[in-house]
Assembly symmetry: C2
Homo-oligomer: 206 residues x 2
DNA sequence: GTCTATAACACGATAGAC
DNA sequence: GTCTATCGTGTTATAGAC
């Protein structure tokens, strides 16, 4: 039988991931991590050099996971618009916030190049992927030629990250959904038809 | 002579405002506040019941100030588009983040209805103001009738709040500016003209 | 009104037994 | 590899002098 128990190091990383998401780096103490993981002080300092080292392992895993999940949606089927819509509408635990984005509000994370690196890398990778999709959409005529892929990608990502802020402020996911809806209405080719059958250079649809 | 020194209570509130912006609620200790304000423990507990009470005074002031500054720009001169552009482009210390929005990532702030209330009220007021401006723009024909004021307002605010996240992740304001630029290109009536002089119902410009 | 002293506990890390 | 004990410091608050 391969009934495998999870290693202590593994439980420490997972507990840290949960707490970083809930309380951030500054708000997460080694004591709280150890309690959640069911381990003693010694275990943590055996496997990791300290709190920053353990947090780094946790942040890297969370960042890699989010990146893979986002790219899976963005590389999925559909037109460029549909793939961006799928990304914007993908299932999210909105009130919990973004496990990666929230770290940018942590002074100790931003102050450390090592802790910030995975956060930056993940957001940047998603941004690049979206920018490529926008350029693809321009070539196919689904998006107007005046759109800048890099800029639109930043807008898309910012709308998501800012949506979390609005939702958490109001205690309801409604504002997140509204922001996404607004952005999609601005992006949607079909939503701005021309009159008298003339072609609109922006949408390139009749 | 009216050479007035600032009261101790005043210095405590201002020091707290600075620290809340820099380090958030969880990352700000009474000791750090007292050091910055040049006061002793007794002063703080004389004027306030404790850390949450002092933080509430600081948050209320910061929220009210931001709200006034934002509404001043939004109620300024110009067309609806121009006023939204002015809001999006208004001077910001991007890498410091939003002094109000960052509080939504603080678990203790979100957990307290009292601390969260001023944050929610300010973001909501700005959102409502932008929504009204969008509706105004629709009536004037500057924005297409398919746009929903509430949704667009959420998108505008989210782009700003999320722009801070992207900027802090990368350590550069560039991503914030890119997000704003992308959103403006989607909103701008002039950026999507029709061919052959036909009228586009979306932009209502030739 | 402001100060210092003190309390009780948490933080982050180390030491050394098992 | 994991445990408990301990360390020095910081946190949040109270007490009481001035």
């Amino acid at each position: 039988m391969y009934s495998r128990e999870v290693s202590t190091a593994e439980r420490l990383i997972e507990s840290t991931r949960e707490l970083l998401w809930e309380r951030g780096y500054v708000g997460t103490s080694p004591k709280a991590i150890l309690e959640r993981a069911g381990a003693g002080q010694g275990s943590m300092y055996h496997h990791f050099t300290g709190k920053p080292d353990l947090a780094l392992a946790a942040i890297r895993r969370t960042a890699d996971e989010l990146r893979a999940a986002a790219e899976a949606v963005l590389d999925g089927p559909g037109t460029p618009y549909e793939r961006i819509e799928a990304y914007l509408r993908r299932e999210r635990d909105v009130l919990r916030g973004c496990p990666v984005g929230r770290l940018t509000m942590d002074p100790d994370v931003v102050a450390s190049d090592e802790l910030r690196a995975p956060v930056d890398a993940t957001l940047d990778a998603i941004r690049e992927r979206i920018a490529g999709i926008v350029e693809e959409g321009k070539e196919q005529g689904q998006f107007g030629p005046e759109l800048d892929g890099e800029a639109i990608a930043a807008t898309v990502l910012a709308t998501v990250q800012g949506g979390y802020v609005l939702a958490r402020a109001s205690g309801s996911p409604a504002a997140f959904d509204a922001g996404v809806r607004g952005l999609l209405s601005l992006l949607h080719p079909q939503d701005h038809p021309t009159v008298r059958g003339a072609r609109c250079t922006r949408c390139s649809t009749n």
